[in-house]
Subunit: 345 residues, 2 copies
DNA sequence: ACCCTTCCGGACAGGACCTGTCCGGAAGGC
DNA sequence: GCCTTCCGGACAGGTCCTGTCCGGAAGGGT
């Protein structure tokens, strides 16, 4: 085994278990214990501190240093990391998803083929079940898109709009943002001379051209804010607006699916909340979390939505009072599969 | 720069950008291009294939090979990976969380101190907001526990039970499982001569003794199943049972918070669902997703719960019909903060 | 078809550095 | 006090690493 290979192996061993004795390491690496000592020294010189304790039960262990040593992951761990990144929770922290995507791109680029399908399989099962099927983001697609963002490379891909209309795009990719397990690409489309957002799960065959572009300024503070605005402006299948006798901050804290721009303060003690969703069930869920605040509420929306909510409320009351309820054809629309929040593209 | 250090730097460069020309690499590494070529060859011999393309715009790029090369992450990426692992989605895949925890232990062991607080800060904001505050799992604690599982080391820690009673434990840690962003440790407690589950967010000061133990057989197929059973048996603050005129598989697919053992088939076309939760709001949410199935339902539960659901249903119906509703003191209990599913310890 | 740019890899010489062997020393645990 | 472990200097032999040459092959653009 060559020396650099041995160093990596050593790092790998030190990462895979808490503590190793010099003799064990020497045997595993096929060298003298003196050489192990030298290798450990080399690691230390590289800036990866290795603690050692003498005496019975002593040994070497990797400590945390100034910067992160190369991570040597086994197959399972690599899959776990990929899945973790893929389902990266978005909300709040500026740019965290961006970084998740970048890390995923890094990993995906070198992920052995045999692990690819495992990542896909696991993320299949593991993604929030509130998402409809068919909205699963393909890690490979996401990785390509993320790499294009990172390298400021023009990106071409096929896209299927929310209404199902296919198109071919050639855009300047800028940022990736995730909301509730859905990934969105914020990009500038030179052909349409405007900014667009794309749902990554509706992107197919992304191919990085090798052409670089110089990033333009996004017409917003940051990508998350921009996306939030775009989504808030997007038409939903079903929509309703509630006015709540509680401060915006309280509502934001308790409502599921926290989208800043859904909640609009009306003075210090009241606010207005947009409940839009692509299924009536989602609208009802959102409303329920407002009801749970137990404050005065008013509601405004199309008859279709109000009717459904009314029927749902009646069924709930009936169920609780009498112990049973029959199916109600008026609520049928809510059983169709959800497709998540819409997009502006 | 020594040769192994240079190899690592080369790997890092190749991972950080899509493509590099030989000349660029030579300059970055401070060696001749001939040496770069030799280094690239060395990488290939280590089993990390590097694609190269000649001609204008050509260069070197890392390809995927038989196994994963050492990952060289920058600060941000390391934080993203840690957070991704910490919020690892559980559901379904056998042992995936276990692996996530192992990978996290690996990472946490070598994570520079300055990044620790960033991981904590990000996961603070980023964890499912449906979780009450104070149920955030400390990555450092989780990492220690995971390492103890991995190394089969006896673990001591302080624990605060669900009722708030403190105790000191000394257990044989076996498995980690996560449900909805909460981590559970399944362990054998020799002092009590029985298996126990612990919520990791209620564990403090975990310290691995260096004493090894030989794992005993868990009284279940796997840890997830065991936990599921334990949680299903655990008393909830509020509880109710619904009988649904739909196959169990359909319900499992559509209900939020899929816990296998919550849903019990009654023949092929009906099933019984346990709606237990620690807030009335959670119970109502669960019930709502059953209502959305739009099938016949019956409900059974304590008057306290039924009353609340009745009131909620009435308020919902009223709101939808008249456009407004007043606060209702009968539903007050639902505004208390949730604490997530209970545990059996 | 031509040229330019890029990757490729053999040969060679000088010197750096790596390894095993031997050793005396220090520090923790029983 | 004994054992086990880590520690690091000295030394000799030989590996192998690096820079410098070079001719060759393969894309891409004009």
């Amino acid at each position: 085994m060559t020396m650099p290979a041995r160093m990596l192996r050593l790092l790998s061993l030190l990462q895979s278990r808490r503590e190793w004795s010099g003799a064990e390491l020497a045997e595993r690496l096929g060298v003298t214990d003196r050489t192990v000592r030298r290798d450990v020294d080399r690691l230390r010189e590289l800036g990866y501190p290795v603690d050692a304790s003498p005496g019975t039960g002593g040994g070497y262990r990797l400590a945390s240093g100034r910067d992160l040593p190369p991570l040597l992951l086994d197959d399972d761990e690599a899959v776990a990391v990929a899945v973790g990144l893929l389902t990266a929770p978005g909300g709040g922290v500026r740019g965290i998803e961006e970084t998740s995507a970048r890390a995923l791109a890094k990993l995906e680029q070198v992920l052995p083929a045999r692990l690819r399908h495992r990542v896909a399989a696991v993320s299949e099962v593991t993604l929030p079940i509130t998402l409809a099927k068919g909205t699963r983001t393909d890690p490979a697609v996401l990785a390509v898109v993320a790499a294009a963002c990172r390298d400021h490379e023009l990106l071409t891909f096929d896209y299927e709009s929310r209404e199902g209309a296919p198109s071919s795009r050639r855009v300047e990719p800028h940022h990736l943002v995730t909301v509730h397990g859905l990934w969105y690409l914020v990009a500038y489309d030179p052909e349409r001379a405007d900014w667009r957002t794309f749902r990554v799960d509706r992107v197919t065959a992304p191919t990085p051209t090798h052409r670089r572009f110089s990033p333009r300024r996004l017409p917003a503070e940051d990508a998350a804010t921009y996306l939030d605005r775009t989504l808030a402006a997007a038409p939903y299948r079903y929509d309703a607006v509630a006015t709540v006798a509680a401060p915006a901050s309280v509502v934001l804290e308790r409502m599921i699916g926290p989208s800043r721009s859904r909640v609009e303060p009306l003075g210090a003690r009241r606010c207005r909340v947009r409940l839009g969703g692509d299924t009536l069930e989602i609208v009802a869920q959102r409303l329920l979390s407002l009801l749970a605040l137990d404050v005065d509420l008013t509601l405004d929306g199309p008859a279709e939505v109000l009717d459904h909510l009314h029927a749902t409320g009646r069924r709930l009351a009936e169920l609780a009072a009498t112990g049973s309820t029959k199916r109600d054809s008026a609520t049928k629309a809510s059983t169709q599969a959800g497709t998540g929040p819409g997009d502006g593209a």
